[in-house]
């Protein structure tokens, strides 16, 4: 393993260019891909800490499990479809030489993002619905956590949508940059990650 070899060698013994004339990054991925991976790890830490807090707070005694509105299921479906669309965009983009707004990759990318927007709107509606039925944010710690977890998740998705919208706008404006291929790829990875997080959160919220 080269990383192991790197950190165990004796640098004072070696003079010269050990790797030839090429410089050698630690990971054979683009900088953007590595940064996204690190960011997803950070986001995982955030959600893990929220879940740890959730379970600790749950044990205190005033916890009343909440009934999840059915619309959350519909929202989940939207997010799954959104992820599927972005994955299709990745697959199509590999087959297409140029990506434009009317290409399959471009269309899938656009629809995927719009479905994510619909998910955000749907979550907002769920919050309204809960508040109307007396299950506001203060009503019970279980409800408080529902608002907290969903809003932090939505905040992460909005960050992804900000990147998506920038690319979507330049696609609409007719740009066919090679850069889109990577953006589509990275957006898809991030979408899948947030879908996995959401399914995990939903499972916990619905079962406790």
């Amino acid at each position: 393993m080269s990383l192991y070899r790197d950190v165990t060698n004796k640098p004072w013994d070696q003079v010269g260019l050990p790797d030839g004339i090429e410089n050698r990054p630690v990971f054979a991925v683009s900088n953007e891909r590595l940064a996204l991976t690190v960011f997803m790890i950070i986001a995982s830490v955030i959600f893990s800490l929220l879940l740890v807090s959730y379970y600790i707070r749950m044990g205190i005694g005033d916890w009343v499990p909440m009934s999840i509105p059915t619309q959350v299921w519909a929202n989940t479906t939207l997010l799954i479809l959104s992820s599927v669309c972005l994955q299709s965009a990745v697959v199509f983009s590999r087959k297409q030489s140029t990506i434009s707004v009317v290409s399959r990759a471009g269309l899938s990318f656009g629809i995927g993002g719009l479905l994510a927007v619909a998910f955000v709107v749907g979550q907002y509606q769920v919050w309204g619905l809960l508040t109307e039925t007396g299950q506001g944010v203060r009503s019970n710690p279980a409800n408080s956590f529902f608002y907290l977890l969903t809003s932090v998740h939505v905040a992460h998705l909005l960050g992804g949508l900000w990147v998506w919208s920038k690319s979507a706008i330049s696609l609409i404006q007719g740009s066919t940059s090679e850069h889109f291929r990577q953006t589509i790829n990275l957006c898809a990875i991030y979408w899948h990650f947030l879908l996995a997080v959401w399914i995990g959160l939903f499972f916990v919220l619905a079962n406790t």
Binding site: L3, D6, V7, T8, N9, K10, P11, W12, Q14, V15, G16, L17, P18, D19, G20, I21, E22, N23, R24, P25, V26, F27, A28, V29, S30, N31, L34, A35, V38, F39, I41, I42, V45, I46, L49, L50, S53, I56, R57, I60, G61, D62, V137, R138, P141, S144, Y147, L148, V152, E178, R181, Q182
Partner: protein, 588 residues
């Protein structure tokens, strides 16, 4: 798409060449300008925190003397002093300042891999500072909850800054964390991916190892602060009860019920303890380079030093509850955290031994940076040893919340990192400005600061043994603290004022030398690392002129036997290279 590291992208467009005054000095994407921006703001806000500490000391040294210091103002000064020093000065200056300046230069790259994100990082940092400082000007002033912002006190009526200061604090922290994340992604990616040819991980200077590990720690630890800030914000604004228990407010039952203040403490210290090392590890790295350079000797035990940095980083996530021994916990829990706390002393002590062994039989040049670096070894050993006392549950319980703790953490993470900051600021000043500073002024600054801080913090240990509690606005009369303790307190205050005034020497020196200092050569210390080998001093945009450097050796080839100079720069091929690789030619 083919992977092309930024270090290999030579066209001017990709480097965001600054065109105007605004893009060169304000909305700059050059890591060196961003570093100076970070450093300037951090030092400015640090001076405010220094002023706040003088206000605290005036009250403690001379109670009932200054009418403008009331209990609320005192607690606000305590809180803002702590938060600013730890987060907005030390974290920002080590990582935003030195991280930004040194990473691309020491790694032989032209800039960070995401220059735009880097610029955003600074502006978010500035915004977080402005929001924090704005809290001084709102009704009720800044929060006075203590820098740990413990719930329920921080958001309860009667705590200074309850009206808005605490909200400003939480918002400011949130913005800071966003800024740190943007910077941190840059530092990590640049170090891992964009190092120049031949610069293997084990050829990196220890400064980079320290900054890298601290950044990784920050990226994992700041989420805990973010989560606690968001949840505390929910409790404050929306009235949830994550942390807030049922309690009485103004004789009436508050609307809160069932929340867990201990949960807040766990979250806070899960961030808070790694934060100590977020500050300490870059300091360890920088001081290693300063010591090695000015002792003209390779760092002793380089690999051990690297592994110690990583071990300390990993262990720092397993010790957080030693801040909570008096909060109440299962004895086995306390035993576990006491054990991990003492284990962390092993790699830390190893580093201290290695610094001392680097000095041993070195050709030591006692110039200003080296004086500060050696001063750091003293204060760090001192603060570290008292940490071993406090790490034990049975010793911590009587000493918790006394001035012994204040003395401990100021020695270990206040004075020590600040001494390294001064060492590093003086050491890299010639590279950043192209001028030498005044040595005499620098040495006077060192002795005033070093001896002055001992005059402040040594007596505090004694006050702690007497049982003098920290955080008290005034002591009143007690049976266990003798009246003579007040004389000691007055002396500490005088020493603190002396040290604060002595810092004027530093500012006079760096500003005077900017114009009047002797012109610095590219490598005035005879250092080996890449930043001293730039074609221009200060380095121009793009750092390396036409061609990126190649690295042929590790960062500590000092006093190599048989070599004509007492140092060999990392980018010098050397005889061995010529012998074995001459057919490979250079590089394109």
């Amino acid at each position: 798409m083919a992977y092309v590291p930024l270090a290999d992208q030579d066209d001017a467009h990709a480097l965001h060449d600054p065109q105007t005054f605004v893009t060169k000095y304000i909305w700059s994407q050059d890591h060196k300008v961003i570093a100076i921006q970070y450093g300037g703001v951090a030092i400015f806000v640090g001076l405010i925190a220094l002023g706040l500490s003088i206000i605290m000391r005036l009250q403690l040294g001379f109670p009932d003397t200054f009418s403008f210091i009331d209990p609320a103002f005192y607690y606000q000064a305590v809180t803002m002093h702590g938060m600013i020093m730890v987060i907005y000065l030390l974290t920002a200056l080590f990582l935003g300042g030195f991280g930004n300046y040194l990473i691309p230069l020491m790694c032989g790259t032209r800039d960070m891999v995401f220059p735009f994100l880097n610029m955003l990082s600074f502006w978010f940092y500035l915004l977080s500072v402005l929001v924090l400082l704005a809290s001084f000007f709102i009704p009720g002033g800044p929060t006075g909850a203590g820098w740990t912002l413990y719930a329920p006190q921080s958001i309860s009526m009667g705590t200074p800054g309850y009206e808005g200061g605490i909200l400003f604090m939480l918002i400011s922290l949130g913005i800071f964390i966003v800024a740190f994340t943007m910077g941190g992604l840059n530092y990590v990616t640049t170090i891992l991916q964009a190092r120049t040819r031949g610069l293997t991980l084990m050829r990196l200077p220890l400064s980079i190892w320290g900054i890298f590990t601290a950044t990784v720690l920050g990226l994992f630890a700041f989420p805990a602060l973010l989560v606690s800030a968001i949840m505390l914000g929910f409790d404050l604004i929306l009235g949830t009860s994550f942390f807030m228990p049922a309690m009485m407010e103004l004789g009436e039952q508050s609307s809160y019920d069932g929340g867990s203040p201990i949960l807040f403490q766990h979250l806070f210290w899960f961030f808070g303890h790694p934060e100590v090392y977020i500050v300490a590890l870059p300091a360890f790295g920088l001081v290693s380079d300063v010591i090695s350079t000015h002792a003209r000797k390779n760092i002793f035990g380089y690999r051990m030093m690297v592994w110690a940095i990583i071990a300390i980083g990993g262990l720092s996530f397993m010790v957080w509850a030693h801040h909570m021994y008096v909060s109440g916990m299962n004895p086995y829990f306390g035993f576990f955290f006491a054990t991990t706390t003492l284990i962390i002393a092993v790699p830390t002590a190893l580093k201290v031994y290695n610094w001392v062994l680097t000095l041993w039989q070195g050709n030591i040049r006692l110039n200003t940076p080296m004086l500060f670096a050696i001063g750091f070894i003293f204060t760090f050993v001192h603060g570290g040893l008292t940490g071993l006392f406090l790490g034990n549950v049975i010793i911590d319980i009587p000493l918790a919340d006394t001035y012994f703790v204040v003395a401990h953490f100021h020695m270990v993470m206040g004075v020590s990192p600040v001494l390294v900051l001064f060492a590093a600021l003086y050491h890299w000043y010639p590279k950043v400005t192209g001028r030498m500073f005044n040595e005499t002024l620098g040495k006077v600054h060192f002795w005033c600061t070093f001896l002055g801080t001992y005059a402040i913090y040594l007596p505090m240990h004694y006050l702690g043994f007497l049982g003098m509690p920290r955080r008290y606005f005034e002591m009143g009369s007690t049976d266990f603290v003798p009246a003579s303790a007040q004389a000691l307190n007055a002396n500490i205050t005088l020493a603190a004022i002396f040290v604060a005034i002595a810092q004027i020497l530093f500012f006079v020196n760096i500003f005077w030398s900017l114009r009047n200092g002797e012109r610095a050569s590219g490598n005035p210390w005879g250092a080996t690392t890449l930043e001293w080998q730039t074609p221009d001093t200060p380095p121009k945009h793009g750092n390396w002129g036409e061609e990126l450097p190649s690295v042929y050796r590790w960062a500590y080839d000092y006093s190599v036997p048989g070599h004509k100079q007492d140092f060999i720069p990392q980018n010098e091929p050397g005889e061995e290279y010529e012998k074995t690789h001459h057919t490979a030619g250079g590089h394109s």
